[in-house]
Amino acid sequence: MSKLDMFTDLRKSTSALTGLVLICLIVLLALFGPWIAPADPLLPSPLIRLQGPSAQHLFGTDSLGRDMLSRVIFGARISLMIGIISVTISLIPGTILGLLSGYFGKRIDSIIMRCMDMLLAFPAILLAIFITAILEPSLTNTMVAVGIVYIPHYARIVRSSVLSLKGMLFVQAISHLGGGHLRILLKHILPNCLPPIIVYATLGMGTAVLQAAALGFLGLGAQPPSPEWGAMLSEGRQYIQLAPHVAAFPGAAILILVLGFNLFGDGLRDVLDPSLRSQ
């Protein structure tokens, strides 16, 4: 499929377009946050604590009187950063391990895949909680933990693509013509593995944002006063009876961003991998 065909198909996909619009909305908030936000997200105003939505504060104020809208806007930056960095942390080692495992097979494949099975033996959130607790709760460690948890997923996807590509005629021809392993892997196999990797990475951004927010909610992610959406929800939980808006808005923001990535990922999958096309 040419790039032009791909973009034409993407433009026709309602789900991809809707997802893209939602993602762009959050990216714009993240980029222009300091100019859009009506107030300083970290500035407490004790006199206006836990106020509901009003003309002055569209999303209300939190327990320290900070403007919730500004905190949600600044939180977009953190959530997008978490998504990108976590996915990169899982994508690079996952791809390398998958390439090695699928291409060389035999003992290397066995060792790598058994290690991946071990990581997959834990429920994802539990492993992330465990790693974060060991590394000490912080935003950086959250991204590392979420990244490590999803390495096996990429390794498996890449491995299965490599296994099918390895037997293809063009790869065997290059091998017979004297092409080295590194050249075959990087110049011929990797580019052909990209479509499933791109689809999974897009869907993975949503998952990473969700997992990181869950860690933040449990108090293991970004620490106060950082306006991370999960941590804001955790604070909102204490005031759910008095001021439900403190939990409502950050949660809705997480939902919109994750929904955006999932819609876009679904659309991309339909375009890049027609064999998986949903009916």
Binding site: S15, R114, C115, D117, M118, A121, F122, P123, A124, I125, L126, I129, F130, I131, A133, I134, E136, G206, L210, A213, A214, F217, L218, G219, G230, L233, G236, R237, I240, Q241, P244, A247, A248, P250, G251, A252, I254, L255, V258, L259, F261, N262, L263, D266, S278, Q279
Partner: protein
């Protein structure tokens, strides 16, 4: 399916569990700082610290520590909780039953509503029902369940107080401990007041936990049904004059069930992960909440035990799903 295949898979499971035990052991030893100091606090005397180190076996070599740890696990001894001083195995067992009750209830909800939505979507493809159900399924998959739980608490326990917001049963009510599953025990005891209370306490957390699996089941059911509805035998059934309901339920759904069963099984693992968050929100006294509490209380024996139990459950579920799949579909032959 042969005995050889099953024993091979069981050996594989044992190997993974051994690997998991090694990973958990090493990771807990990687935690910075002296565990004795962490447990006793910064004002502990050197003698007290030394005594605790001796008691926990921290003075021995890493290999000896690992040997003791593995020997104890094999004998079902997961150590003692530093917070309650009770054996971790017993503590985990009580909580595991609570988690099981919640997970089973969530699974029932996910199965019933997920399959119903999926069938409706497939039968009325490209209708408003189809778009609506599939959009809701997509929202469900993207849902931060810890947020949904809070919103449900606000709506049904605070604004319109019709359901309780935490715990497993109302204060003052009791059921005899037969199976540990409150609902079952209340039925066995014929205590209807307790049964109603237990069911009411179950609704919100079970719905919260069921959201993501329900959405996945709906999507899988729809695509499996669409595939089956185009088959010749469905057309034949219609041509024979059978009612649409019989065609859908008896002929189509039965054959579309295979991928759904697989997804249901795999979702059990997802439920275990989701239980960590749901139990924390609803103060449900299960394994998920126990592991979070143990981590914040630096009760590493408890954390270690919980993680091993979770990993064992996940591996056992995956194995069971594979075996059931082969049993259900005779066309699948195991590659030995």
């Amino acid at each position: 399916m042969t005995l050889g295949y099953i024993s091979k898979r069981l050996f594989h499971l044992a190997l993974i569990m051994f690997g998991v035990s090694v990973v958990v052991f090493l990771m807990l030893r990687m935690i910075p700082g002296d565990p004795a100091q962490l447990l006793l606090g910064e004002f502990a005397s050197p003698e007290e610290l030394e005594r605790l180190r001796e008691q926990l076996g921290l003075n021995q070599s890493l290999f000896t520590q690992f040997w003791i740890y593995i020997s104890n696990i094999v004998q079902g001894d997961l150590g003692h909780s530093v917070r309650t001083n009770a054996p971790v195995t017993g503590e985990i067992w009580v909580r595991l039953i609570a988690t099981l009750e919640l997970s089973l209830a969530a699974m029932c909800i996910a199965t019933v509503f997920g399959i119903a939505a999926g069938v409706l979507s497939a039968v009325k493809q490209y209708s408003l029902w189809d778009y609506g159900a599939m959009f809701m399924a997509l929202v469900g998959v993207s849902m931060p369940i810890f947020w949904l739980g809070l919103m449900l608490i606000y709506l049904f326990a605070v604004k319109y107080p019709v359901l309780p917001m935490m715990g497993r049963i109302s204060l003052g009510l009791e059921v005899p401990d037969v199976t540990g599953l409150m609902v079952v025990d209340a039925v066995v005891a014929g205590n209807w007041q307790s049964l109603v209370s237990a069911l009411k306490h179950l609704i919100l957390p079970a719905f919260t936990l069921a959201t993501i699996p329900m959405a996945i089941v709906a999507r899988i059911t729809r695509s499996a049904m669409l595939e089956v509805l185009n088959m010749d035998y469905v057309r034949t059934a219609r041509a024979k004059g059978m009612t649409e309901l019989v065609v859908i339920l008896r002929h189509a759904l039965r054959n579309a069930f295979l991928p759904v069963v697989t997804v249901l099984g795999l979702n059990l693992g997802l439920l275990l992960g989701g239980a960590v968050l749901t139990e924390t929100i609803f103060s449900w006294p299960g394994l998920g909440r126990y592991v979070v509490d143990s981590l914040s209380g630096r009760d590493y024996a408890a954390v270690q035990g919980c993680i091993l139990v979770f990993a064992l459950l996940m591996a056992a579920i995956n194995l069971a799903v594979d075996l059931i799949y082969v049993l259900l579909d005779p066309r699948i032959r195991v590659n030995e």
